[in-house]
Amino acid sequence: MPLLDTIRTIETPEGVSIRLRLAGPVPRALAWLLDFFIRLIIYLILLLFLSQLGKFGLGIGMIVVFLGEWFYPVLFEVYAQGATPGKKTLGLAVLQDDGVPVGWSASVVRNLLRAVDILPLFYAFGLCSMLLNRNFKRLGDIVAKTIVVHRDKPKPLQKLPPGFASPLPVWLSSSEQQLIVAFAARVPRLTPDRAQELAQILRPARHTSTVLRADVDSLLGYARHIVGER
């Protein structure tokens, strides 16, 4: 695993490992800010409405603020796949350490312990904890055994530009084959000059460079053959 990376793998009982991309303090702070404003707007709208009801409205207002401040994140995390509206906008989600969605207890713990993360000012404890913890956990996350991850949007399978396929003239290891396919998938997004420049790098890297043609078109051909076009 690369040293400076935020990707964690969890192993499922089926014996395969799944990758999760951890979210750092900045997107999480932005999500919090967004949620904060959403709550504020809800309170303001309610205030307009409830002020008509006198003391009765005041009572309801205080209950709503109580629920909003403590349980707004809990409800969304449990019922909306681990994401408050703010988190959803930023593509974040809360999961348990083992990658499954958060349950009631974990969500309640991590959100009640916000009261400590927020101390002494502006989530200072939470921020320190996130920077010190290798999984970007604030204190509430440590106790509740939860993580916050980026929920990646599905990317379409990269298509190679159409053309002929040619078999590899020499044996290449599978990671080398993968390199050629990855390069071929990037070609449409590169300028022709840059693509050629990158293709050139291959030449001195291999002893077999005499047989392996290191120009863009040939590499594309090899790539198509590797992924199975004939």
Partner: protein, 339 residues
């Protein structure tokens, strides 16, 4: 096998699993158990789909492992990876809130008995300072000003003087809307204090210590001051009923906070983070119970305590019964199951 052949061969299954997972997510209700991940009102087709889910999910795990082993294109591996993740979440994420009724009938009191020593410790941290401060203020009344300023003391005396806010016209309560406003206030104020008392246990128990002792001092000082002023009866007929729930619940929140603090101070053979996560389970269940008690307390405090539905002797009897109820609940409920 080349990647494209692999995709052609299995794409059908992947799409099927994707469809199953989306249909599982579309029902917003929490899932009950692994068997009912999907909506209960199923058409026959859906029912077979549901039965197919586990084997389909395991097939996708196999495909992912194969794709990794054969170094297929990263985009393909990524797609299978995401698919396996959502399958994993749908399959193993089916957690439920264990029956609430069960919890209150025996789980909660049994949990408190299990950690009885911490309960008594938290109780002592609330009541001993209250007693000491009470004696201090009773014999040296000016000590009240070490906790409250003039304004605060005036408000207090105003509230509890004959005919003040606490003593309404006999036979009637406060106006209903005023009662409800106070209900909202008690919920917001008291439950938040309970939560903070629990959460600040994470500061090596120090926060919980502060909340318990400070509230104890305040309670003792206020009571002693009012007794000194001759308002003892008005004070106690007001606090006795909801106090049974409110004071006990604050002790319970403190106890939950001390559980966290203890995990940090003496984690035993675990790492501190592990010990914390381990303590969090019982702690949060204690907080659930305490929250319910604080809700009851807020209700009683808003709608009963301030009313004069009974003469004060009657209110003392009701209050005493409620204390006996709370004590009996924690001492005896679910005890037979344990033995």
């Amino acid at each position: 096998m080349t990647p494209n052949e692999f995709i052609r061969q299995h794409e059908q299954e992947w799409r099927q699993l994707e469809a199953l997972i989306t249909s599982a997510h579309s029902s917003l209700r929490p899932k009950k158990s692994p068997d009912t991940i999907f909506d209960e009102k199923l058409t026959p087709e859906q029912a077979t789909d549901q039965a197919a889910f586990p084997s389909l999910y395991r097939r996708i795990c196999l495909h992912l492992a194969l794709a990794r082993e054969r170094h297929y294109p990263p985009a393909l591996i990524e797609r299978l990876d995401r698919l396996a993740l959502s399958g994993h979440q749908a399959f193993y994420g089916a957690r439920s809130l264990s029956s609430i009724g069960q919890f209150f009938v025996h789980g909660f009191p049994a949990l408190i008995r299990e950690h009885a020593r911490l309960f008594w410790l938290a109780g002592a941290l609330l009541y001993l300072p209250a007693l000491l401060m009470g004696l201090l203020v009773y014999f040296r009344p000016e000590m009240i000003y070490s906790l409250l300023d003039h304004q605060g003391v005036n408000n207090l005396e105003e509230m509890y003087r004959a005919g003040g806010a606490i003593e309404p016209e006999p036979g009637s309560g406060r106006a209903a809307d005023e009662n409800f406003r106070m209900f909202g206030f008690y919920i917001k104020n008291n439950i938040s204090i309970g939560f903070q008392c629990f959460a600040s246990g994470l500061l090596f128990g120090l926060g919980t210590l502060f909340f318990l002792i400070f509230n104890g001092l305040l309670f003792g000082a206020v009571s002693a001051h009012l007794i000194h002023q001759g308002s003892a009866e008005r004070l106690f007929q007001f606090v006795i009923a909801h106090g049974a729930f409110e004071l006990t619940a604050i002790v319970l929140c403190g106890m939950a906070g001390l559980l966290l603090g203890r995990a940090l101070i003496s984690p035993g053979r675990r790492r501190r983070s592990e010990a914390l996560a381990h303590a969090a389970g019982p702690a949060v269940r204690i907080v659930y119970g305490a929250t319910a008690m604080l809700l009851i307390a807020a209700f009683i405090e808003a709608f009963w305590s301030s009313g004069a539905y009974l003469p004060s002797t009657g209110k003392f009897i009701v209050g005493g019964l409620l204390w006996a109820l709370v004590a009996g609940y924690f001492l005896f409920m679910g005890a037979r199951r344990e033995s």
